[in-house]
């Protein structure tokens, strides 16, 4: 199998997909190219894994990561949302952490990490703000030290992307639609909507905009009506009122 003399390790979603298309169409050299452009990332992932399992051998972990990468390339579906890079990372990381020498020790840490994620999710909604370590520990039934360790030791964000239904990820299409619709509002309306979205109180928004609270509430109502209209496809003109 031929290795091209590529110098830089960089990947883009578009370039990845082109290589994947070639590979899945039967061009074996495309897989090697794909692996090459991700070699910098793989090295970084291995380095992170070694921080958590310093007893493991870097070469072994890299081979595991390569296997995970291969699985991702083989299984990647073009109709699927999400980029290949994220999938490759999940698979590579999964392989490294499923390797016998790493798995034994880190299973508990993974479980704690998932507990912490779930606890933060519940607290975010309950408190309407970012929870403290102490609150997280209480909610997750862990000590503060365990929470800190779980968050530091497993910084990898794969759990969220596995889409196991336990955590709620934004729907990119809906977010895009909402962003587009807000962009069509007047600047005041957009300001009110985004601030309300962020959880600001009408009083706070009124103060920031130098308007009365009633005026801000009216702006917000009008903005919501406008948003509904836009999303229904009825309104697409910039509202300057």
């Amino acid at each position: 199998m031929k290795l091209e003399n590529r110098q830089n390790s960089s990947c883009t979603d578009e370039a990845d997909r082109e290589l994947l298309c070639r590979y899945q169409g039967g061009d074996e050299t495309a897989f090697v190219e794909l692996l090459e452009v991700h070699s910098g990332y793989i090295r970084h992932w291995v380095k992170l894994a070694l921080k958590q399992a310093p007893w493991a051998h870097a070469d072994d972990l890299r081979q595991e990561a390569h296997w995970g990468f291969f699985e991702a390339a083989k299984k990647y579906k073009f109709s699927r949302k999400g980029n290949f890079h994220a999938l490759a990372r999940i698979r590579a990381w999964g392989r490294m952490f499923d390797s016998p020498e790493v798995r034994i020790v880190n299973r508990t840490l993974y479980e704690n990490h998932n507990e912490v994620i779930a606890a933060q999710d519940r607290l975010m909604k309950k408190l309407g703000r970012s929870p403290s370590y102490q609150e997280l520990a209480q909610e997750a039934n862990l000590s503060i030290k365990q929470v800190e360790t779980a968050r530091k030791v497993v910084p990898f964000p794969s759990a969220l992307e596995e889409n196991d239904g336990a955590l709620l990820l934004e729907d990119s299409d809906t977010s895009q639609l909402l962003g587009d619709a807000i962009a069509l509002l007047s600047s005041d309306q957009a300001e009110v909507v985004t601030r309300r979205y962020a959880g600001d109180k009408f009083r706070e928004i009124a103060k920031a905009l130098g308007k009365s609270e009633d005026a801000v509430k009216k702006l917000h109502e009008r903005a919501k009506k406008k948003l509904k209209g836009i999303i229904q496809g009825k309104g697409n003109r910039k509202d300057e009122t």
Binding site: L3, S10, G25
Partner: protein, 221 residues
């Protein structure tokens, strides 16, 4: 999205975790002002997404201007050799389509042995006239002569990665394209029915092509 969902979306949207796509765009300053505000609204609340963003920043910094080393190349070559050895396929990195094609080819060889005589003789309606199962059990094909004298080909495999693969089937003048589809959690299947009047006289005049369709083949992850 339904219009009535606006209130709910504005109320609860900020509790939804940001996708990696959004986080990467945020990191790379590719979001417009509105989307930055929406992302910020969530990031202010969510330690997890703050960490994910930090992770992605760190990752980008780690690979910035990274130059592939000879060690990388050696590791890649080693991986390719390992993969080839593991899958026992010449020049591995054989794709799903290539694997399926190889199994179909084996099946056609078996078919040509069974039907070395062009005509199909000695079978009764309702009989199974052909069965093929490869060594690893990854592809089973059986053919039934139905009571109405039509012929039914059944393809079945536990290899879910083949979901979506298209087969172009021909027996005599009969042509059909079918897609392997998921049946339950453990199999992909396809069925081809050849009505009596379209049955081939020469049973060994058969071809099955696995269409190269990389966009369709692959399993859900």
């Amino acid at each position: 999205m339904k219009p009535e969902d606006i209130d709910q979306l504005l109320e609860s949207g900020r509790y939804k975790h940001l996708s990696e796509e959004t986080l990467v765009s945020y990191r790379d300053n590719q979001l417009d002002r509105i989307r930055v505000a929406l992302a910020d609204a969530h990031l202010r609340l969510c330690l997890i997404c703050q960490e994910r963003l930090a992770f992605l920043k760190e990752e980008a910094e780690a690979v910035a201007n990274y130059v592939i080393t000879e060690e990388d190349r050696a590791a890649i070559q080693q991986t390719v050799r390992d993969l080839e050895a593991e899958t026992n396929a010449p020049g591995l990195v054989s794709t799903e389509i290539q694997r399926l094609t190889a199994y179909i080819r084996d099946m056609l060889v078996a078919w040509s042995v069974v039907f070395s005589q062009p005509a199909m003789r000695g079978f009764k309606d309702g009989d199974e006239v052909f069965r093929f199962e490869n060594e690893k059990g990854l592809l089973t094909v059986w053919v039934m002569l139905e009571t109405d004298a039509s012929l039914t080909f059944h393809f079945s495999s536990p290899e879910l990665a083949w979901e979506g693969a298209q087969l172009r089937f021909r027996l005599g003048r009969f042509n059909k394209e079918v897609t392997l589809q998921r049946e339950g959690d453990s199999r992909v299947v396809a069925t081809i029915e050849i009505p009596r009047r379209e049955r081939a006289k020469k049973m060994n005049d058969i071809s099955i092509e696995v269409l190269s369709n990389p966009g369709a083949i692959g399993s859900d992850l």
